[in-house]
């Protein structure tokens, strides 16, 4: 059902709806369209309600997620709707600026933009010739005369320009700024003279970075500039590098932190999950890697019966992650069916115990991906499953243990009173009697 129709059915206006108003609207409509009296109308209303509710839920989740991001991002969100960036705001490249295709530069939409454009044109069109004179004349530019705070302006200019230089010099690869810049092809305007001029005017080094991508960018440029500056004796020692890895580890940890001290390990470049579920999954992975069948049932049981994994949240999360682990390790996604024989770390009793605990083979989930994983597990589990207690109404197979109910008074019919016995007795009577009579007469 199209989204707008859903809003109309509920009588709501699209942008002003919150989860509370959606509920109230649904409740109001439900008073008149009752399910017993008007099933079709109710179905339409219900579909509308569910569609709208889902969308509002996502919107609210998005908002909540964005609210936890770092300051820069949230401020850049707020500047989205503004015409000019506030002078005090930090650099937000790309939000309030527009991208000039010709120069391939981000230009803010104010005097600063003109300034950046001016410099960029000088670099590109005049090949950054006579940088010293150019920078001397720069201070007479309109932007500098118009503003009160030249220091701040210089700072912002420097930030914009460094980004442009980094882009123009192409020091990036797919993951961010290169660590090793010795192999890049320097653009022709990046002469030694230009480099020295940039260095002296903009004072880019040493610098602090707020975010890891900034840090990497600065490091890359430092690597690029350093040999030139050292060669010309502009500087005597190598430029200071910023510890980008540290910043990155801090960012990731802050974003995903939980109560158990999970953190990002910069040496292995991996997230170290110290929550109970994370530890359990790691221990399970260790069992898989160990790949031996000795004591395997006890080992699995020890993992899944931990006290901290019993609450519902942890239980659900563990169920999902263990299922994913098992599917991944038995070839899910690469093959049609699991390879036989099953690996050592997954014996029949282990499968039964896991299924008993998490119910993977008997609980179809609505989500497509999880359902295919459940089906995969059922395929793995099928040979080890105890006989299924299916109910076929045409051939009922109800096994009642008569003995266990005997004490309640359910006794079987005495054998001589059973219908079959009586039937045979009657047949025998009908057959035997004439024979006996004939025999006695004859």
């Amino acid at each position: 059902m199209p989204l707008n129709d859903s809003y109309d059915t509920l009588g709501l206006v699209r942008d002003s709806a919150t989860s509370k108003t959606v509920r109230l609207a649904y409740a109001k409509k439900l008073k008149t369209i009752r399910p017993e009296d008007d099933p079709e109308g109710f179905m339409v209303l219900r579909t509308a309600y569910e569609t709208v509710r889902r969308e509002i839920q996502w919107q609210e989740q998005d908002l909540a997620r964005n609210a936890t991001k770092t300051d820069v991002d949230s401020q850049s969100e707020s500047t989205k709707s503004q015409q000019t960036p506030k002078p005090d705001s930090d650099i937000d490249l790309g939000r309030a600026a527009h991208f000039n295709q010709e120069l391939k530069a981000w230009l803010p939409a104010d005097a600063l933009g003109h300034l950046v454009e001016h410099i960029v044109r000088w670099v590109v069109e005049e090949n950054a010739s006579q940088p010293k004179q150019f920078f001397a004349t720069l201070n007479e530019h309109a932007a500098f005369t118009d503003t009160d705070n030249t220091q701040k302006l210089t700072r912002k200019l420097s930030d914009y320009f460094i980004n442009w230089v980094a882009n123009a010099a192409d020091i990036f690869d797919d993951y961010g700024a290169l660590a090793d810049v010795s192999n890049i092809k320097k653009p022709k305007w990046l002469t030694d003279e230009a480099i020295i001029a940039f260095y002296e005017y903009f004072q880019w080094f040493p610098q602090d970075a707020q975010e890891s991508w900034e840090a990497r960018q600065i490091n890359a440029l430092a690597a690029l500039f350093e040999p030139v500056l050292l060669a010309h004796n502009v500087i005597s020692e190598p430029l200071q590098r910023i510890d980008a890895d540290e910043l990155e580890a801090l960012e990731i940890t802050q974003q995903n932190q939980d109560d158990f001290g999970s953190y990002f390990n910069r040496q292995t470049r991996k997230w170290v999950d110290q929550s109970p579920v994370g530890c359990a999954v790691q221990d399970a992975q260790a069992l898989v890697d160990r790949d031996s069948g000795a004591g395997i049932l006890g080992a699995w049981e020890e993992i899944i019966e931990r006290e901290a994994l019993q609450p519902i949240d942890e239980f659900q999360s563990l169920s999902q992650r263990l299922l994913e682990l098992i599917c991944h390790e038995t070839g899910f996604g690469n093959r049609e069916q699991p390879k036989t024989p099953i690996p050592n770390w997954l014996t029949g009793p282990v499968l039964r115990r896991l299924d008993n605990q998490f119910g993977w083979s008997s609980q179809n989930v609505a989500h497509h991906w999880q359902r295919s994983q459940s089906n995969w597990f059922s395929l793995l589990f099928a040979p080890y499953k105890s006989a299924s207690k299916s109910v076929d109404l045409f051939h009922p197979n109800i096994h009642v243990n008569i003995k266990s109910y005997a004490f309640l008074g359910y006794q079987p019919m005495p054998i001589w009173l059973k219908a079959t016995t009586l039937f045979f007795m009657y047949i025998a009577y009908r057959i035997a009697l004439p024979i006996v009579i004939a025999a006695s007469h004859g």
Partner: protein
């Protein structure tokens, strides 16, 4: 007037919506709870309730209990000389409740709302309706037990908007339901459960443990003794709810065997059962797409939730305490009465609307092509209506025959959650006639429509021609036909039922007999004396004397057993 009935595995109750709130109705012996037990005595007729339950220990061959578990199966039960279906036994219980209600309310009662476990499948629900019809009721609606509990709590609630998790552990069934209440709308979000898990299973655990510690095999005891041991196990289980250890004495063939069990040992013995409780809860929460933090209230319903094992488990799962303000035994009946009131459009309830969900996935079987055209995987379950969708609901999808050139497209309709149809329950089959086309496969659009009374309608439309054919699954095979029901109804009318006025006396005699079996020596002698005294008083046919004698004997019994074990 419409009444609400809780037809439970262990106990049944009946209630009606009074002026502004639901009210329980007392039975002939003055209790709200009527044990679901039936005793067949050729001379005096059918006896239902506490008396029958006591007679279970003294005359087990003539008594039946816990037959709710067998509803929907073909198992015929033999009591004494007669055979009964579980539907008929339930009908006896319902009839007795009907008589109680008619006495209290002073009018003939015909319409009822009956509670069923949310996790009862189609067959079991139809059996419940059949039982009610045999008893002479017109079933207006079947209500799911956790929904009924939530209705009762909902009226009771102070805030206007909240999300409930109702955990209902009754005598024989376990249900979990998540409900949302806002602006007078009670909406069921998800439902799950286990139709074969209940308080009785916990009692069975204790009983097996006692058997083992006495040195007997599983069925080593004769029926009567086993019945008494089980009754003792039941008493001990209830004692464990209030004290960390419980003791009892089992009397057999003149010797007394003291038996004891501690709460920790009980928790160990029932570990497998408590594990089965967690899965449905988790599934209900994930189906409702909620997190445990979004659930405002956790409500425990059903007598078995009195066990500390259960409330501890809930606290462990949710890291907070559940609530059980209302009497867990009464809640479902009160809720059923609220639904009855809603159906009557009672003034006090005009603002409330309720929507429910279907607890099982409905779908049909399909085959999937694997690698080559002849490599098929058959028997796969293709769900069409997912579980926990709000009813009434209608869904459709298009299916193709495997090969062109057929004249029918045959599908079997199943209900269940397993990925392969052999593990699900078949509820019908359907043949869609398709036009003969040797070149292409004729696609068919299958539409399932499921309404609030649980009737599934299947519509098959051939895509190319637009011809529609319909199948309505109202009756599952193996279920009673209307003629059969009528037949049994008339048969029931003819069966002699113990006169209502004399039920109290019969109950007391049964109770005395049961206690007699359970005691030795001096106490036994006293009970025997009281029995004789009471029977003499009965013979006088003088109401007041009988009343006085009954009171005296009841007092003696109270003193003897300490507290009433079946309260």
């Amino acid at each position: 007037m419409i009444v609400g009935i809780d037809l439970g595995t262990t106990n049944s109750l009946i209630a009606a919506f009074g002026k502004d709130k639901p009210v329980l109705i007392q039975n002939a012996v003055g209790d709200f709870l009527t044990p679901s037990a039936v005793h067949n005595n050729r001379k005096n007729g059918i006896l239902v309730g506490q008396a029958a339950l006591d007679l279970l220990t003294t005359e087990p061959q003539n008594t039946a209990a816990r037959f709710k578990r067998r509803m929907g199966t073909n198992g015929v039960l033999q009591i004494g000389r007669d055979q009964f279906l579980p539907e008929e036994l339930s009908a006896f219980v319902l009839k007795s409740l009907k008589a109680d209600a008619e006495k209290e309310l002073g009018e003939t009662i015909e319409d009822a709302v009956i509670s069923v476990p949310a996790y009862f499948n189609d067959i079991q629900r139809k059996a419940t309706i059949a039982a009610a019809q045999i008893a002479g009721f017109n079933v207006r609606r079947l209500i799911n037990e956790p929904t009924a509990a939530a209705l009762a709590y909902g009226l009771h609630a102070k805030e206007n908007e909240s999300t409930f998790l109702v955990v209902d552990l009754g005598g024989g069934t376990f249900d979990v339901t998540i409900l949302e209440m806002f602006s007078g709308v009670m909406e069921v979000r998800a439902s799950a459960g286990d139709a074969f898990l209940g308080g009785e299973d916990f009692t069975d655990c204790i009983c097996s443990y006692f058997l083992k510690s006495l040195g007997y095999e599983e069925d080593g005891l004769p029926n009567a003794d086993h019945a008494r041991l089980r009754a003792l196990a039941e008493k001990i289980k209830q004692q464990l709810s209030s004290s960390p250890t419980a003791n009892g004495v089992f009397v057999r063939e003149g010797t007394e065997y003291p038996l004891t069990i501690s709460r920790t040992l009980f928790e160990e013995l029932t570990e497998k059962l408590t594990r089965r409780i967690r899965l449905p809860i988790q599934r209900a929460i994930s189906d409702a797409q909620l997190t445990p933090a979004q659930i405002d209230r956790i409500i425990l319903v059903g007598g078995a939730t009195r066990m500390p094992v259960i409330s501890n488990l809930m606290t462990k799962l949710f890291k907070r305490f559940p609530e059980f303000d209302l009497n867990p035994d009464h809640v479902v009946a009160l809720g059923a009465a609220v639904q009855a009131g809603l159906l009557e459009r009672h003034k006090a309830l005009e603002e409330m609307v309720m929507t429910d969900v279907c607890p099982f996935t409905l779908g049909h079987d399909i085959s999937r092509i694997l690698s080559g055209p002849n490599d098929l995987e058959t028997g796969i379950f293709a769900p069409l209506i997912e579980r926990n969708t709000t009813v009434p609901v209608s869904r459709s999808h298009i299916i193709t025959p495997l090969r062109p050139g057929g004249r029918h497209l045959a599908i079997d309709i199943y209900q269940g959650e397993a990925p392969y149809v052999k593990d699900n329950i078949k509820i019908g089959s359907y043949n869609v006639p398709i036009p003969y086309n040797p070149k292409e496969c004729e696609n068919v659009d299958i539409r399932f429509t499921y309404d609030t009374s649980g009737v599934l309608e299947v519509l098959g439309t051939v895509v190319s021609t637009g011809v529609v054919s319909k199948l309505i699954i109202e009756r599952t095979p193996g279920q009673m036909s209307p003629q059969e029901i009528k037949q049994r109804f008339t048969a029931l009318e003819r069966i002699k039922i113990h006169p209502r006025d004399e039920i109290k006396n019969a109950a007391l005699i049964a109770r005395l007999n049961a206690e007699y079996e359970n005691t030795l020596g001096q106490q036994r002698q006293s009970i025997s004396d009281w029995l004789v005294t009471f029977e003499i008083a009965l013979k006088t046919h003088d109401k007041r004397e009988i009343e006085a004698a009954r009171k005296a004997v009841e007092e003696h019994l109270q003193f003897l057993s300490g507290s009433n074990a079946f309260e």
